[in-house]
């Protein structure tokens, strides 16, 4: 059985310093076995500014068995599947220790965003790109962050629309946006200069 008393304590502990860490964990329903974690994209990375949601499922043996975590937000990263959101991280597998918590695990996931390990990839396509064409990787990752991990700002379609209204062809506007990671100002600069 899941140790619900501990999960409760973890949730309390986590909400206590949500300001400092930015990490949130909330149950999906009354059942504490399924939760949603939220981590901010680390500053100075292509994920900066994004908010990433992670689906958490607790196995019966929790905390003696590792929680199952998977990105619900689409993310472009060598160790995270761009299709399923599956995460390749040792502490979620054989390096799990019952002394770790959901918060520490999410912090590790956040750390993974800042320090990808293309040598042990979950997504081979992303890892290839990371190793061979780092600039394009950064662009794509930023574009994905912009597109999928930012709820408040304008959607990509709206930005494309704006640029088209300014008189640029749609295909060109789209590729310019993608190459600069979705930043409409940079895209405009690029379109004007090129």
């Amino acid at each position: 059985m899941i140790d619900f008393a501990r999960v409760q304590k973890e949730l309390q502990e986590c909400s206590r310093d949500v300001e400092a860490s930015g990490i949130k964990v909330a149950p999906k329903s009354d059942n504490l076995g399924r939760l949603t974690g939220t981590i901010p994209g680390p500053v100075g990375t292509p994920y900066e500014g994004g908010t990433f949601q992670i689906d958490i499922t607790l196995p019966d043996g929790y905390p003696f068995e590792p929680p199952k975590m998977q990105f619900a937000t689409k993310v472009w990263h060598p160790n995270i599947s761009s299709q399923s959101g599956a995460i390749c991280l040792d502490i979620l597998k054989d390096q799990w220790s019952p002394a770790l918590t959901l918060k520490t695990a999410l912090l590790s996931v956040q750390a993974l965003l800042s320090t990808p390990e293309p040598g042990d990839p979950q997504d081979a396509v992303v890892a290839q790109q990371y190793l061979r064409d780092y600039q394009t990787f950064v662009g794509t990752a930023r574009y994905w962050t912009e597109t999928f991990a930012k709820t408040s700002s304008l959607g990509v379609e709206e930005k494309v629309q704006k640029l088209v209204e300014m008189g640029f062809p749609e295909a060109l506007a789209r590729s310019a946006l993608e190459s600069v990671g979705g930043d409409e100002n940079l895209a405009l600069e690029k379109l004007c200069s090129g």
Binding site: R6, F64, E65, S97, P98, A99, L100
Partner: protein
């Protein structure tokens, strides 16, 4: 002597005996070991039964405990990590030092237990796992210093045991690789799940068999419950106390001088009759109408099925019946006929080659299936002969001869699959030129034929109705049997030498290992006594530098001779009849 002609003993073989009985006896006395079939009483290969498993394991444990002054559970953790290879463990010790040896295996030896935080019933700790307070007697501090409540430890142990990780249960603290003390695991788990604690103990015990490359379960079915431990060479053939003889390396029937890989292919080939299937596909074609296989008869490419359908052999398509040698009415196919024929030729050649070896292999295996019957009838003859008032009373030469016959038939039989692969293209296509292959093949076949003819000769002598013969005639048969037996033994030896040095030895591929020739047959593993005195002996016996070993030095610090820490070959035998069970014969000999 007319007998000699009959028995076909050639001139060159005469030198093995002289005609008078005295010198024959002389030969028998001098070369007793070659003629008598008594296997050695104490084999280096051991049978480990359920009862003796503990003792077997304890021997290695004891040795490591003594050498490194360790507690049993630390020694076990080390041994499990190094797969019960004491030599390897010692090599790591010498090369990398004690602390490295320990860290790699997850052994934490605390010199002085932390006195700052003694756990007493009055003190309380907060368990980082369940985030509850626990009193001192409800919590346990592992040797690495990490302390959690007993409930959490127990839960952790249960999950790990159920995951099958009994042999390496790590501490619960994050990134702590220390292996938990087995006594604590046993103690805590047995309070909640006595069955699981037993399972845990069994896993630890069986690690000695399952993680040990020198020990394997006997492959008998139904399982006899035994395991076999070999010494030094894992490429050998053994006999379990249950009577099963097997190849220790691949656990199938004994098959030397065939290598395990060759034997695996051969048995598969024989079983699935793939060659027959191959023959059918080459020599028949399915009728396009009823799909039955139709054999080609005659030279022309028009074949007809019993259903009445005619079709073209080359492309398999249905045709009309009118045809000439070159053309079939209502049909034109541009398929190149020769291509097909080449393929057929090749398949046929491969098949014939296989059949050649298989027939000989089978002839010999078939005869050793009749061995017990033959033995019976010959022993009957012996008892009749013994009743008679002959000067010769000792008929052990008959049983010795029989054993030699059985032994050599096996060698001969398995030499055919060996030759099939040795001179075929499957394994060694690029290892030798066709010319080399031909020379080697002739060399080997020559030996094979010599062996074969002598084996048949021996068989013939043993089948003589010697129980009816007069004294002189019996003596003569006896001479022949002994003589041919000696020749056969030498020929077998020569064949193995040839395989070892001239055939496999000259190749680059090192994947074929052949179990060595044992003149006396496959050695029966001897029982490992289970009631051994496992009391710790004197450490000095093992350590020339006296007392405990202080080899905790960084790696690459050179020879250990100067430090006075050298290992010496330990005493191999500890007294008469007291054979040393577990010890690989020697520690690194630096003398």
């Amino acid at each position: 002597m007319e007998g000699e002609e009959d028995y076909g003993v050639s001139e060159e073989e005469e030198y093995f005996y002289a005609d008078d009985g005295d010198s024959l006896d002389g030969l028998a006395d001098n070369d007793d070991s070659a003629l008598q079939w008594a296997p050695p009483k104490v084999s280096a290969t051991k049978v480990i039964t359920k009862e003796s498993l503990l003792a077997a394991q304890r021997e290695d444990l004891r040795r490591v405990m003594e050498l490194l002054s360790l507690k049993e559970h630390h020694a076990r953790t080390l041994l499990i990590h190094y797969r019960w290879d004491v030599e390897k463990l010692l090599a790591v010790l010498v090369e990398k030092g004690k602390s490295c040896l320990f860290t790699e295996a997850g052994v934490t030896v605390v010199e002085n237990l932390d006195d700052d935080m003694p756990l007493t019933s009055s003190s309380t700790i907060t368990c980082d796992i369940c985030i509850e307070d626990a009193s001192g007697d409800n919590a346990t501090r592992m040797e690495c210093g990490h302390c959690f409540c007993n409930d959490c430890w127990t839960e952790h142990f249960i999950i790990k045991i159920n995951e099958g990780q009994s042999r390496r249960i790590q501490c619960m603290a994050h990134r702590c690789s220390a292996i938990c003390d087995e006594a604590i695991v046993r103690n805590l788990v047995s309070r909640r799940h006595p069955d699981l604690a037993e399972k845990f103990d069994r896993f630890l015990l069986e690690s000695y068999i399952e993680d040990n490359k020198m020990v394997k379960w006997c492959p008998s079915t139904p399982h006899c419950g035994n395991a076999i431990r070999v010494e030094e060479d894992e490429f050998c053939e053994v006999e379990c106390s249950c009577g099963l003889q097997f190849c220790f390396s691949c656990l199938s029937e004994a098959h030397s001088p065939c290598s395990c890989l060759m034997w695996e292919r051969w048995s598969k080939k024989c079983h699935d009759e793939s060659e027959t299937v191959n023959w059918i596909t080459v020599h028949t074609k399915p009728c396009p109408k009823c799909h039955k296989p139709v054999e080609k008869n005659g030279g022309c490419n028009l074949v007809s099925c019993i259903c009445g359908q005619s079709f073209c052999w080359v492309c398999g398509g249905a045709t009309g019946r009118d045809h000439t040698w070159s053309r079939i009415t209502g049909h034109s196919c541009g398929r190149y006929k020769e291509d097909r024929e080449k393929q057929t030729e090749r398949a046929k050649r491969d098949l014939y080659r296989y059949m050649h070896y298989h027939n000989r292999f089978k002839a010999h295996t078939d005869s050793f299936k009749l061995e017990s019957k033959l033995k019976e009838s010959i022993l009957d003859k012996v008892s009749i002969a013994e009743e008679r008032e002959l000067r010769l009373k000792d008929f052990s030469w008959v049983t010795n001869g029989l054993n030699r016959l059985f032994r050599s038939r096996r060698v001969l039989s398995y030499s055919y699959p060996f030759a099939f692969y040795m001179f075929g293209e499957e394994f060694f296509k690029d290892e030798m030129t066709d010319e080399e292959r031909e020379i080697k093949k002739n060399l080997f076949e020559d030996q094979q034929q010599q062996l074969e003819s002598n084996v048949e000769k021996l068989s013939m002598f043993l089948e003589e109705p010697f129980q009816q013969f007069n004294q002189d005639k019996v003596m003569e048969i006896r001479m022949h049997v002994i003589n041919v037996s000696v020749i056969i033994d030498k020929l077998c030896q020569k064949m193995y030498e040839c395989i070892e040095s001239d055939l496999l030895g000259s190749l680059h591929l090192g994947t074929h290992h052949i179990a060595p020739y044992k003149s006396k047959g496959i050695e029966r593993a001897s029982e490992l006594s289970s009631c051994r005195n496992t009391k710790l002996g004197s450490t000095d016996e093992y350590l020339p530098c006296g007392g405990t070993l202080e080899c905790d030095r960084p790696s690459g610090s050179g020879s250990s001779d100067d430090s006075g820490c050298s290992y010496r070959k330990r005493a191999k035998k500890e007294g008469g009849g007291f054979f040393d069970l577990n010890l690989p014969a020697e520690i690194v000999d630096r003398n």
